[in-house]
Every structure is written in C-alpha cells, then in structure tokens.
C-alpha cells in the first residue's frame, strides 16, 4: 500500500523539478539592428551601440556581445530578432509586489501603520511574486525591481531586490535586504496627538532611534568582550538601525521639499551613515551639497504630479543631476491610486525628452541604476559574464509609439507580448 503513494510522490517531485525554469539550460541568441550595450569604456564614456549586433546567452549568462559577423553562435541556439536591443530595465524604486494592483486590504502590504518606525520589517516577507503588476512592468522590459516598503511612514521598513519572475520569492530574489526606507516631510506626518506631527519631531525621533541603536551595539560589544557581562535581549528593531550605522544597509530617505532635503543632508552629516535621497522634487537646489556628501539620488518619476510635497518637481532634474555628476537612477516610486504603478521605461523617456542625452536617460534605468543599487556586477549592461537580462524593441525604446516585443531574464523568455 505504501509503494504507490511513494511512487506518486516521487513522480510528482520529478514533474515539479522539470517544471522549474531554473533547472533548464537557458541559451538564446538575440539579434538587434542596434544593440545598446550600456557598458562604459575605460574612460567612463558610454560604449557606442553595436549595429547589427548579437547578444549570446549561454546558461543564463551573457557569453558574447558583438557584431553578428564576429560572434559565433552555436548551432541550434534559439534566437530572437528585433530592431533595438537594450539591457533588461531596472526600476530603482518600486513598491510592486507589496502594493497590489487592486488597492484593497487583501493586496496592500506596502505600509504598516502600527508604529512610525519599523526598520525591522523585511520586504521578503511581504512580496507576492504572482502580483499582476509584475507581469505588467515586465512586458515593458523591466527585469529587476528594487522594491519594498513604501514611503509614508518615518521608517516604513526594508526594501530588497528581485528579478521579475519566479513562483516564489526565493526564485525571484537577488538581494534579500537592500535599504531601509524612510520618509521626511508632509507625507509621513501623523495627525492629532500621534507623533511625528512636525518635521522637527521627525528628526528628533530619528536621532533618538540612532542613539538607542548605538547604545545597544555598545552593550553587545561589551558583552562579547567580557564573559561576566550579559548581552542585552535581542531587539530586531535596534539591530536593523545598527545595520544602517554599520554601513551595511543605506537609509533611503524619501524627501521632496527644500526643508526636508536639508534635513536629509544634516542627518547624513550627523551620523556619517550611507544615505540615498529618494524622490527629491526640489533637489535641483542642492546639487552641490549632495555631491559633496556623496549622496546618490533615486529620482522621482519624471511625470510625478505637480502637487502636494512634490509640487515643485521639474522634468529637467535628471538632466541637471547627470550634468553635475551626481549618481542618479530613476524609480517608479509609489502611487496610492491610478496608475497603481508607473512604468520606468516611460518615465526615462520623458527625462530624455526634457534634456537628457539618450544613453544618459537609458542609463537611469539600466547601468546607473545597477551601479547605485550595488548590483552592477550582475545586471545593467550587456557585457560578458553578466546575467542574460534583455529587452527587445521594434524602434526607439523611448518613443510613445514603439513597442516592447519581449523580455528575457537569464536567457529565459519571460514576456513575448508586443506592448
């Protein structure tokens, strides 16, 4: 009686394994009339695009990139052809997978309101890999998301990095913990007697949390050095703040207004922690201090609405930051209503129309985004040894009337809808 059950279980396991895409060899040759490698030369300039080029992906990794005439493609390799090839796109600040498309309690896990500061919340625990918006952005070439807890609380939780595929979060994950998401300014103020109710309170609460984390770290260190001393009870919240103090996780601060951006600069100076400015509607007035303090910017989507905290946003800010040499990437940000997510391809397109050179604009969602997120060794450009993540287009990727024809992640075609 036992054997058939075991056999069924065994067969089921075989089927399951066979169905797992990771186990299949992922080879593909992608030909493009123009291939934008988005790699940089030794001098830090954008590499020229390759005309009549090919990207050869073997076992999920890029094994060759070059003119089709110069690359030997093994016989039998599946192939795709299109006009324009780019690296898979990276959304440098998304909430997709946590903030669902239906915008109801059932699919909204991007913000937890029980306390204004909860840096211990892991994005990994809240990510839904079957969220339809993942398919949506993937159909526009997006292969990597830096996603997680949304702006809207002083510290809302952590972010992480995924590829836009997989049946489980473990299939999708690239980096389990990336940043701690904070918000300064009107978007994270609480009403009535709840704190923080003012900007000054926001700053003092953050300072207090860092002081407590530092004291906790010192106690832990003392206990480690002295057997007589007991270690303090483990505190996940303090440990997460400690990771920021240790430089292991940057504090990504959403701030738009001039006052709030100045507070970001001050906080970074006080604590000498890695800080990333996210949003930054008025950051055009603080380009020099941002540069001097080494604070990169994950800019608001170019089409962000001109109201509320971001009322003074300019569509030329990306161009200004790039010209000044501030590291900058673009994120779709957070939307509370419709559209539930923006598409970074379209946001970079508008940046391109408003002052960015083509490859600088494409860089915002490829190479520069990967570098800013610290995953430049894996994604962001079409170079030998990197992940085989590719987007295929039937024309200028930024043109309104062009289409994304397909998306490839580590050699696997994950989308082939022309959209």
């Amino acid at each position: 009686m036992k054997t058939p059950t075991n056999l069924i279980q065994f067969l089921a396991l075989i089927l399951l394994l066979a169905g797992t895409p990771e186990l299949q060899a992922q080879n593909i040759a992608i030909y493009g009339d123009t291939v934008h490698t988005m790699a940089k030369t030794a001098e830090g300039q954008w590499q020229d695009p390759i005309e009549n080029g090919v990207v050869l992906i073997i076992d999920g990794k890029i094994s060759a990139v070059g003119p089709a005439s110069a690359v030997e493609v093994p016989e039998g390799t599946p192939e795709k052809r299109c006009k324009v090839v780019t690296p898979g796109l990276i959304d440098a600040r998304s909430v997709v997978g946590l903030a669902g498309w239906l915008n109801i309690d059932h699919d909204s896990d991007h913000i937890e309101r029980s306390s204004p500061m909860q840096p211990e919340l892991a994005a990994l625990d809240a990510y839904n890999p079957r969220e339809p918006l993942i398919d949506w952005v993937r159909s526009f070439g997006v292969t990597t998301l830096h996603t997680g807890h949304a702006p809207g609380q002083l510290i809302s939780g952590q972010t992480f990095i995924v590829k836009t595929r997989g049946n489980s979060v473990d299939d999708a994950v690239v980096q389990r913990q990336s940043m701690v998401a904070a918000t300064l300014g009107s978007d994270a103020l609480r009403s009535g007697k709840e704190s923080p109710g003012t900007r000054a309170k926001q700053m003092s609460m953050l300072r207090q949390k860092f002081i407590e984390a530092k004291a906790y770290q010192e106690k832990v260190a003392k206990a480690a050095a002295d057997e007589e001393k007991d270690a303090p009870a483990r505190d996940l919240r303090k440990e997460a703040m400690g990771q920021i103090l240790d430089g292991k996780m940057p504090l990504m601060i959403n701030a738009h207004s001039s006052v709030d951006i100045q507070n970001v600069l001050r906080l970074q100076k006080e604590w000498q922690i890695p800080v990333i400015l996210q949003g930054g509607a008025e950051c055009y007035d603080f380009i020099e201090p941002l540069k001097a303090q080494g604070i990169p910017v994950i800019l608001h989507p170019t089409m962000m609405r001109s109201s509320g905290a971001g009322k003074n946003a300019s569509m030329e800010t990306a161009a200004k930051l790039i010209a000044a040499g501030v590291p900058v990437a673009m994120g779709s940000g957070y939307e509370s209503y419709v559209p539930k997510t923006r598409v970074v391809l379209w946001e970079a397109a508008i940046a391109c129309a408003y002052g960015c050179e083509f490859r600088d604009a494409l860089g915002l969602i490829t190479h520069s985004a990967a570098a800013l997120l610290g995953i430049g060794d894996r994604v962001g450009s079409l170079e030998v040894g990197k992940d085989g993540d590719v987007a295929l287009f039937d024309g200028d990727p930024f043109e309104y009337t062009s289409h994304c024809l397909g998306t490839v992640i580590e050699g696997e075609v994950v989308s082939d809808i022309a959209r």
């Binding site: 498309w101 109201s307 209503y337 129309a353 309104y400």
Partner: protein, 441 residues
C-alpha cells in the same frame, strides 16, 4: 478763467481721445489679421497641408491652405512657422484643473451645484494646461456622487476670472454639461447608495421627478399662475432631458456602462461615457447605443477594482466599432502638459493616427456640443490651435505655442511660461485634488 480752462481742457481731451481711437483702430486692424506661414498644418477636418498658411482675422480662422494659394492681406502680422506643425488646440473633455468641486457630502444627487462657482482659474494648473496645447476644457466636479453637479466649458483664454473663460450659447448662457457617476466612487454610507441597483434607482427617481416637473411647465403653457415653483435641481435635470445639457458620465465596469446606456434609453438624455475602463468588453453595445466615449489612458491597470481590466487598446477597439472616441486627462490623474501622450499611447495600442488626433480635438468638441466653433482648423471657426516642433505623437516633440481665439496664451520662449512647461518652483499646486469627494476612491 476756470470755465475757459475747462473748455480748453475738454477740447484737448476730445482731440486726445480721437487720436487714441485712431491709433488703436490702426494697430488693431493690423494686429487682427495674423498669417502663420510655412507650417505643416493638420486641420483634422480636412487633408493635411504640407506647407501651409493659416490666416486668422479677429480671432477666427479666415483661410487655411497651401502657402502658394493663400494671399496674405496687407498689414497682416506675419508669423513664420516654417518647419513647425500646427494642429487644432487640444480639447480635454474631462479635467479638474482649478479644482472646482460640485456637490458636498450631504446627498448623492446635487445637479444644482455648478463648478463655475468653485473653479480657480488662476491656479498654476491652468498655465500647465496651456503649456500642454490645451485650448478648451470641460471642468468637471468629482465622481463621488451619482450627480455631482453642472460642469463648465472653459476656453483657456488669458483671463483672471472664470467669466473671462466662459463659453456662452446663443442665448448668452454659460455652457456646460452634467456630471454623473456610477460604480464604486459614488457608493458610500447613507444617504448615498450602497449598491449598484440602489444607485440606478435613485437616479431613475430623480429623472422621473424631473419629467413631472417638465410636464407641469408644459401644461402651464406660459401661464405664471400654473407654473411650478422654481427648483434649481429640477431645472438642471430638465436641461439634460431636453438635450440642452450633455450628460458626462463617469463609468468603468462593463455592467455599469450598460446601466448608463439603459438610463439613456429610458430618459433620452445625450450622454458621453467617461473613463470607460471596460469599453473593450462592451464596444458593440456602446456602438449600438450611439454613445460617445471619452477615454482615460493610465500607465498601468488597476488602482481600484473596477479599473482592473482597463486596456490601452480601448481606443483602437472603439474606433473599429465606429464609436466616436475622445481622450481626456482627468488632470490631476494625468498631466495636461502630456495630453498628446495619451493619444500617442492609443496609437501604440492600435488606433489610427488620424483617429487619435481627432480624439484630442474635433471629437472632444463634438462631445461638448461645440464642434461648430472649435476642434478643427476650418474656415469660420475660432482660431484655437497649437504650434508644435514636430510629429504630434513623438515623445521628443515640444509644444511651442498655444493660441486661443487668435491670442497667444503660451509661448515656450517666454521664461515665465516655460516654467509651467517643465516644472520647478512655482509651477505646481499646494494640494492634490481629491477626485472623488469621499474617503474612498
């Protein structure tokens, strides 16, 4: 002495005024004829002219044709637009610029309220709309009511009061439609409806009452003794029943769309369906009911349950079925400065270029009952147009100038105007508009 002085003074004053009049008339006669020469002109109502002249007199289009065929009168102001593209001014059939609201939270049916009384035409959002090439908007109250109020058609003239921007009908009344909504936005706690059937029945009851009011007026045959007491709410609904006020109906889900069509059939009002997320599912029914559609284009589906199935293909599907299609910004939902993009994404999803441009211009004018005055570059119509740097559907194209009735309201070379085109300090609005009037979207 004093009398002598006064007389002398009066003569001097009269001479001065006469001189001034002559000066003004001389300058206006020249300034009142403008020739825009050398552009690619896309009139929408007729064939594209590759190198054309648009002749404008007293704010109206006097002539449009190839450069070689249009004779420019002496004294006309000549504006060289060689290499540029001229299209009709964009018409947004559904806008919330200036944040004009309608009814309050007291009850679900308030057609007596009028956005004319609440819109702020000095809001930065009006300048941003001009920077987007818009020349006419339907300023709408929100969708948090079954009937949230009367809408206002506003020409984006360079004015500081709402009166400066109004559009009047032949009898001198300010023109506008009636905003209605169904689906979840207008469902709230009592006295608002809690279900779709209740929503429809409340609307039905209101129109039945209006029909009775209308009948009483008819029976009175002008006799003041027999006339019913004036009722602003009933008057607005009667205007809708008589086709004097077009119903602009917010609706998303396929069954809600069909409910609107059913009410249209029952009461005979003229209706434009707005947003119409599920249009692709019921395109045939919409075509059969001869209802026009004003579509929103958003960058991803969802955001709320009833917009889950919205498709970029809506424009193409409706065009295929022969439905009159317009686009709208729903500003602040989408940005008036990027209104061309909505239609361009329609083209991306299969709509014809001609249909998409018409959907930004002439179709919108038709849906506001203003196609005899604006919406295309045709002789006799208002000189409402935009001058572009190139293809209307390219992301790289810039809107260079916007003209309303022969007067320039946006000039990209003017730094004060440019600020609104690209954004920056002072180009935005302090508060975001709450589209739905309630807590729930």
């Amino acid at each position: 002495m004093s009398l002598h002085f006064r007389v002398q003074n009066r003569i001097f004053l009269q001479c001065f005024l006469l001189m001034l009049c002559l000066l003004i008339s001389a300058s206006t006669s020249a300034a009142d004829v403008q020739a825009f020469v050398g552009a690619r002109i896309v009139p929408v109502s007729s064939e594209v002219i590759e190198e054309g002249t648009l002749l404008v007199r007293d704010g109206k289009i006097e002539q449009v044709g190839p450069v070689k065929d249009v004779i420019i009168p002496d004294g006309a102001v000549r504006i060289d637009v060689t290499g540029k593209t001229i299209i009709p001014g964009l018409i947004c059939t559904h806008s919330h610029i200036g944040w004009g609201g309608g009814g309050d939270s007291s009850e679900p049916i308030q057609p007596e309220c009028h956005t004319l009384d609440s819109v702020d035409v000095r809001s930065a959002s009006f300048m941003r709309a001009r920077a987007g090439g818009l020349t006419l908007v339907n300023q709408m109250p929100g969708s948090g009511h079954l009937i949230s109020g009367r809408t206002t058609y506003l020409k984006l003239r360079d004015g500081g009061t709402v009166e400066d921007l109004l559009v009047h009908d032949a009898s001198g009344w300010p023109m506008g439609g009636l905003k209605m909504a169904n689906g979840t936005n207008s469902q709230r706690s009592a006295p608002f409806p809690g279900t779709r059937a209740k929503s429809a029945s409340l609307v039905r009851q209101a129109y039945v009452k209006a029909q009775e009011y209308q009948a009483k007026i008819a029976r009175a045959e002008g006799d003041p003794e027999k006339m019913p007491e004036r009722d602003l709410r009933m008057e607005a609904l009667v205007e809708a029943l008589e086709g004097k006020r077009i119903v602009h109906h917010h609706t998303h889900r396929h069954d809600d769309i069909l409910t609107v069509l059913r009410l249209k059939k029952e009461f005979g009002f003229e209706v434009v369906l707005h947003h119409v997320s599920d249009a692709w599912k019921v395109a045939r029914e919409i075509a059969a009911a001869d209802a026009a559609c004003s579509l929103i284009v958003v960058d991803s589906p969802g955001g709320k349950l009833e917009a889950r199935d919205i498709k970029l293909e809506n424009g193409a599907v409706l065009e295929e079925e022969g439905v009159n299609v317009a686009f709208h910004t729903d500003d602040w939902i989408t940005d008036s400065r990027l209104f061309l993009r909505s239609a361009a994404l329609g083209v991306r999803a299969g709509m014809s270029r001609e249909g998409a441009l018409r959907a930004l211009t002439l179709s919108g004018a038709e849906m506001l009952g203003l196609a005899d005055r604006t919406g295309s570059l045709a002789v006799g119509k208002d000189a409402d147009f935009a001058v572009l740097s190139g293809d209307p559907f390219s992301v790289y194209t810039q809107i260079l100038q916007t003209w309303v009735e022969g007067k320039q309201v946006f000039d990209r070379t003017n730094p004060e105007h440019l600020l609104f085109a690209i954004g920056g300090r002072g180009a935005g609005d302090d508060t975001a508009y709450n589209c739905c009037g309630g807590e729930d979207h």
